[in-house]
Symmetry: C2
Subunit: 228 residues, 2 copies
């Protein structure tokens, strides 16, 4: 990949932070895109901003409005599900925290940005092992989206090549955490909890996977010790 | 298609207005999505609103921010190209009025909306004959995006089937205008001109194609007689 300019989708969570540091370690000049989509809390946006600044990267905060009902991350009337039940079930159905077409929207904006800025890559920290219930975290989805880029954009038609890069796609949380540490990712600045309290709730699915990851990596979570 | 609920992308132009009336004629209950993306003028948003109201359809105006430089529809420092030169060239290169990833972003929002509202179809008035320079107006692009829906959404995984419908894709402007008349589309409410004056400039590419379409259809444009 000769073009070393990249757009990085940054959520404020562990995965996207490690992805940013990985892109930087590969020599990419990164521009971060952060989305304010009226998510349940703004804590993760604050985290994303801190991470981008720490990494010395420029960032944009895109404000968008998504339909809210039926999605626990957007609709304050719905409860965030507790982790234990779902983790025991190893459910294959799509969880209530799924936001319709969210990653497709994020990628579309990143694509518009990449095309305008003549960036050669879009980095996204999706991974399929832990979150197997999300259809937009699977490799086949990213392959399909890559085809949309190749066919449906000026950059694609002119063979300028914007690649969607998913470096964590086959990694589990423990591997991501180890990689993050190795790359000097400020894990203490990341936020994973679905709730927006002062400290992580320790009960939601996202807290569960984070704590499990740190435990399996044999590392203490610098943010908080989520005991589950 | 058993689900008769549809999301229709409405720009305020001829094509999307005819598409809306076509969807209605097929028995779809239509919800229109209109985008305010800081385009060069707001005239088309006003038109879209009038058309949706006339059709008796609900509509949302989504406000989004797109990168502006390099695109003549967004960047006020760039001139809208005159039609004559390009029409004579029958150029195959992507025109300066191309907005990076615009249709991909519009479809992504429509998809999020369709999934939340349990709609079975997304209608978009793209067509490839006149605007052969736009990569996101070609049938192969819509086939690729359909695959993204099938693989990357809850609706797709659960086989609920959201279909992207492009009923005008192989029609030319004259055919679209005739169809629009037949369906009772309020063509007088539509706006095609890339400039935002009180009346169409008659010089830009969009005015050129509109005038050519009306001429070939043997119908007088109810909005204005654009002589080219």
């Amino acid at each position: 990949m000769s073009n070393r300019k990249a757009v990085v989708l940054l959520s404020g969570g562990l995965d996207s932070a490690v992805t940013l540091y990985l892109a930087k370690s590969k020599g990419f000049r990164c521009h971060c895109l952060v989305f304010d989509y009226h998510q349940r809390h703004r804590r993760e946006i604050k985290s994303a901003r801190s991470i981008a600044r720490k990494a010395g990267c420029r960032f944009n905060i895109e404000r968008i409005s998504l339909p809210r009902h039926g999605c626990a991350l957007l609709d304050a009337h719905l409860n965030i599900p507790q982790a234990r039940l779902r983790s025991l079930q190893r459910s294959t159905h799509v969880p209530v925290t799924y936001v319709p077409a969210r990653n497709i929207i994020f990628l579309s904006f990143a694509l518009s940005f990449a095309e305008t800025e003549k960036a050669g890559a879009i980095f996204i920290g999706a991974h399929c092992e832990d979150y197997s219930g999300y259809p937009d975290c699977r490799p086949e989805f990213y392959r399909a989206f890559q085809k949309v880029i190749n066919i449906g954009t000026k950059a694609g038609v002119e063979k300028k090549g914007i690649r969607v890069v998913t470096p964590l796609i086959h990694k589990n949380k423990a591997e991501i955490i180890r990689l993050g540490l190795k790359l000097g990712t400020p894990l203490n600045l990341t936020w994973s909890c679905y709730e927006g309290g002062k400290s992580p709730c320790g009960k939601c699915e996202s807290c569960y996977w984070r704590a499990k990851g740190f435990r399996e990596a044999g590392i203490r979570d610098p943010l908080v010790d989520c005991r589950l």
